[in-house]
Symmetry: C2
Subunit: 361 residues, 2 copies
């Protein structure tokens, strides 16, 4: 209790991000779901071009250059979604977009519904904004209990594919939830969608209460630049802008805007590296099987895995001794699992070598 | 009233930033207090160096590289402030830092006190966070009514030098307010301090309730990169981090971090361009005098001026016809004033030429 802090500051337990070691030169860093491949060459070129005297000037405040790229991209990849400029909102990482969305669409009157095992930032936002929440336990096989969400009162936020499980929920199931929550905003956090799921994008033409949030940190190799976006009905985007312009009008700097646009434009490059990551995931899953691990079916750039003969915490520590950093969550239901990011083939070979050296498996 | 918005979203009136015209090639843009000179060459070099494959990785979440530069800088320029790493907080523009600070230190129990004429974002934050506020009218000469703040209950936020007036409040007066608010956080927003005022930095060693907020957008020519920071007692910085890590853990991207550090390191360059801007301001003020304008004494990179024979709105429109964009606020007490950013000598000559061509003054 600090006398100079507000009551909310005194009451909060902040989010704890995964470890970001200072020097990673000799580490295999497969703990925070970064992409092992570099950003598209076009992204680096765009940044170098924008690195000039115009940095003295404020940026355009809606990141329109990136919105324009997104409109083109979705016309090509999701034509039935019929998305225009007014359907997109850009933010400083999907964390910021999610924070704005929770403040924009939920209040203390109705709870926000979420899975027990999901992105742990959601409850932190709720505590910050005074939003009550209802926790829905995943089924025993870690799939989403859809009926429970259908019956619940209030808003819904679901990560799809889920994290840290990696399990994908079919679009038909999300449609089922949307049909039963016409007056609540349903947020689908598709941070990992490019690695195996089908986006709900097309549902936006049909549902004015669906907001999809995603990030350029994972499939676009740009965790270092903090770029996320949301898309949905234009009234939801207007609501997001009301909150943003009551908090910080210029969230996207000039460099991030052009880099984000270039990352969207260079989708062919990213399709290729995404395919590589999916192939590596298949190989890693098969190798884990051979070593006795039980791995959930992943549609993400990570796998969630457990071994019957070793405690997950011991595995994590042993791997760390060998310079391999994976993510361990000391939480009920998942404290015998490790979340392992899919790195390059070489990195994953070093992961298996470390397992062998430390545990003989 | 939108059925899908939260009650707070339905109630807010967001901040309206100054106009950012798309194509400024033929304009004299002196409306949003940008610096007419480019960032230091070292800043652009630092960005180009950071533009590499590591952008795939999350940034360090406290912008430690920039904090390290700030510690060195303040040791040199403000040794008596005795500032260490734990005294600094970096954010995505000072607007974000201010938003975090208001959420961290004020609540609905006591009002936040501010001037009637000041940065108009403060009341917007209060509305967003449900913080009551008390407005203290500036004196008739637009100086701060210090006694009114001394007597008031609750926190205090003051821009110094004030905007849009440009008038500087002496450190002794801020000390007087601090002495009478030992259990409230006093925020001094020093966005414009480098253009003529004395920073309160040294008071931090003495007052645990003082938070200074500033920006790299003005004196460091980096409005396009969105970098601001706060400094104060370490407990205040911890409070800011509680809020930040409940909202968005990675607010500062890799490029902004190294650019911010380089901008602080290259202070010699910035001292030179700041001196140029101050000299231009002196010349502009004298020229405005000759033309019959009444200009408040500015310690900022802008002047706030009025003309007895012309309505400010007409002057703003006439200048716009000539391609000169200045800031006009349609608000009580100041609706006969223009806020004019100090550009380069050449830009200010074009401003005077436009005045002459349009109004014959």
């Amino acid at each position: 209790m600090n006398r100079l802090w507000s009551s909310v500051t005194n009451s909060l337990t902040p989010y704890v991000p995964g470890e970001q070691p200072k020097n990673i030169d000799n580490l295999v860093k497969i703990n925070t779901n970064e992409n092992p491949y570099p950003p598209a060459p076009g992204v680096l070129e765009a940044i170098k071009k924008a690195c000039n005297k115009d940095l003295r000037l404020y940026p355009e405040c809606n990141a329109q250059i990136m919105v324009d790229s997104l409109v083109e991209f979705y016309k090509l990849k999701h034509p039935d979604a019929k998305l225009e400029s007014e359907n997109f909102f850009i933010g400083n990482g999907s964390d910021e977009v999610l924070a704005f969305a929770l403040r924009a669409f939920y209040c203390n009157q109705k709870p926000l519904n979420m899975n027990d095992i999901t992105y742990s930032f959601y409850t932190v936002y709720c505590d910050l904004f005074g939003i009550p929440y209802t926790i829905h336990p995943l089924n025993r096989d870690f799939t989403v209990n859809v009926e429970s969400f259908v019956k619940a009162k209030g808003g819904v936020i679901i990560t799809n594919p889920n994290a840290p499980t990696g399990i994908y929920l079919d679009v038909s199931q999300i449609k089922y939830i949307l049909d039963n929550h016409k007056d609540d905003v349903i947020i689908i956090d598709e941070a990992y969608i490019d690695f195996g799921g089908t986006s709900c994008a097309e549902l936006i033409a049909e549902y004015d209460n669906l907001l999809i949030v995603t990030t350029l940190s994972k499939s676009r190799s740009l965790a270092g630049l903090r770029i996320g976006y949301a898309y949905g009905h234009k009234d939801l985007i207007t609501g997001l802008n009301v909150i943003k312009n009551s908090f910080n009008s210029y969230t996207m700097d000039r460099i991030a805007q052009v880099a984000g646009a270039a990352a969207i434009d260079n989708w062919k490059y990213y399709d290729i590296i995404t395919d590589k990551i999916i192939r590596t995931r298949q190989w890693v899953t098969a190798e884990l099987d051979k070593r006795g691990f039980k791995t959930l079916k992943s549609s993400s750039n990570f796998v969630f895995t457990t071994h019957p003969d070793y405690h997950a915490i011991d595995l994590a520590r042993g791997l760390r001794n060998q310079g391999v950093v994976v993510r361990y969550f000391n939480k009920p239901r998942i404290n015998e699992y490790l979340r392992i990011t899919i790195g390059s083939d070489d990195e994953m070979q070093r992961f298996f070598d470390a397992l062998n050296k430390e545990f003989g498996i």
